[in-house]
């Protein structure tokens, strides 16, 4: 079944620019004002991916645990920073908390995958570990951002209910339990939805990549199942950690709702 990779030559790669010129022509014709962004986007795609191609080749060649760990930590940090863009409701985005939540959830799930399930030799084989951690991070980054944003959104819109529970003698946790539940659900729903439709509506990028790379579809499918399930686990753990750490930030030291949460109501 292995038909091997059909390589893309430099000339063929250059030809792909035709595709983006088509997008540029549409932007120019309709005056979408996207020409500049499209140009720089194309340049950045070429530069960043070419660079990462060399970097990965180098890292795969060395294959040292300390180097791989450093890269994973850096990826977590970048993901923690990047998720801020998806949280318009959160006044002071906790990059530190997001980082630790991502590191813990990705680390736990990623290690289970590479040590117990795939188990390459050595277990920290960069060619396996880095793409696995990258896929987990890319998905849990979105998940935790969605759930954190929802937590604040719910707290704003239900400030009256939360304060009324506090007035009855609720602890902060009792007062926001309903909001936490909704925010966890918001973070996990996209992942659960993708578990439902995968293969029917979408062929995941990883699987497509393996198939294009010449792998047996059966093998690609096995990997994809592991990937889907590990993403579901990592998103759940990441959301739980971040929301669990963050809900206390809605309250003052005296267990009252912070004034900025109430202001949207008053």
């Amino acid at each position: 079944m292995n038909s091997g990779i059909v390589p893309i030559s430099n000339l063929q790669l250059a030809l792909s620019v035709i595709l983006v010129i088509a997008a540029g022509a549409i932007s120019a014709a309709l005056r979408l004002g996207l020409l500049k962004a499209l140009f720089w986007g194309t340049v950045r795609t070429f530069v960043q991916l070419t660079f990462i191609g060399y970097a990965l080749k180098y890292v795969f060649g060395i294959n040292k645990l300390w180097l791989i760990s450093g890269i994973v930590i850096l990826m977590c940090f970048i993901a923690a920073r990047a998720s801020v863009a998806r949280t318009p409701n959160v006044p002071k985005y906790p990059v530190g908390l997001a980082f630790w939540s991502l590191l813990a959830s990705t680390g736990l799930v990623g290690l289970i995958v590479v040590r117990v399930i795939i188990d390459p030799e050595p277990w920290y084989t960069a060619r396996i570990l880095i793409p696995i951690f990258g896929m987990i991070l890319g998905n849990s980054m979105t998940g935790i951002a969605l759930s954190l944003d929802r937590l604040y959104g719910e707290a704003y819109s239900r400030a009256g209910e939360i304060e009324s529970l506090l007035a009855f003698g609720a602890t902060p946790w009792e007062a926001v339990r309903g909001c936490v539940r909704d925010s966890m659900r918001a973070g996990m729903t996209p992942t659960i939805n993708s578990l439902m439709v995968v293969g029917l509506v979408s062929l995941p990028g990883m699987m497509t990549g393996q198939i294009l790379g010449g792998a047996d579809p059966h093998e690609a499918v096995r990997y994809q199942i592991v990937v889907m399930l590990m993403i579901a686990a990592a998103v759940a753990i990441g959301c739980l950690l971040l929301v669990g750490f963050s809900y206390k930030k809605l309250f003052t030291a005296d267990w009252a709702l912070k004034s900025e949460i109430l202001q949207s109501r008053r």
């Binding site: 009256g160 009324s164 007035a167 003698g169 602890t171």
Partner: protein, 222 residues
């Protein structure tokens, strides 16, 4: 001589758009009702929220039964000093579930249980039909919702009730019934008290009402 239930000592906060400084020193005896009055934006709601520890005061302290508020945990304090906001807080579900809501909290659960008979009695007292219990609470009118919330606050049996305009959404008859219930509640057992923000008439009919005016002028309110 009556025992002092609440002592508000030099509580200071700013209020309104121009940040007018308000300084309040007052006291309330057991069985007493303190009617807090003042124009809109004069800081009546803020005072109640500070006393409930839902908002921080600039300075000053509050004593309940002779003990300063710092000696109580926020949960202990709010179990005794209960604030009812003007805007009714309604949760999803029927009226009965709304009345039961506080009884799901650990601090309430360990002290008391929800008794449907008492809830029905209070509904009747406030001129609400008892079949309201099964109705979706989100469909209540403003006046019904504010009476539901008053009943819920009385059910959890605090020591001090902080009521923010509980009569504002009520018609004359319902307001009279609510005021009667408040007066009866405060005297039904020793050691209770009410801070009542209200502009409704009929206060003079209540026993032992004192008035605290938070006026426009700068300075101390006593």
């Amino acid at each position: 001589m009556m025992k002092k239930l609440l002592q508000i000592d030099n509580i200071t906060y700013s209020t309104g758009i121009n940040g007018r400084l308000v300084r309040v020193t007052t006291a309330l005896e057991e069985g007493g009702i303190l009617n807090v009055r003042g124009p809109s934006g004069s800081g009546k709601t803020t005072l109640l929220r500070i006393v409930a520890r839902l908002k921080e005061a600039g300075e000053g302290s509050v004593f309940l039964e002779g003990r300063p508020w710092t000696e109580y945990s926020p949960v202990e304090w709010r179990r005794k000093v209960h604030y009812l906001a003007q805007k009714p807080a309604i949760f999803d579900g029927p009226v009965e579930a709304n009345l039961k809501k506080p009884f799901e909290l650990a601090a309430v659960k360990k002290e008391m249980r929800f008794t449907p008979e008492r809830a029905q009695e209070l509904l009747e007292r406030l001129l609400l039909p008892t079949d309201l219990l099964t109705q979706d609470a989100r469909t209540l009118s403003g006046g019904e919702a504010s009476r539901l919330c008053l009943i819920r606050s009385i059910l959890v049996d605090p020591v001090l009730l902080l009521l923010d305009e509980p009569l504002a959404a009520l018609d004359r008859k319902a307001a009279d019934a609510a005021l009667g219930l408040i007066a009866e509640w405060v005297n039904a057992r020793a050691g209770r008290g009410v801070l009542l923000v209200s502009h409704a008439g009929g206060m003079e009919r209540l026993p032992s009402v004192a008035v605290l005016d938070i006026g426009e002028e700068e300075g101390d309110c006593r």
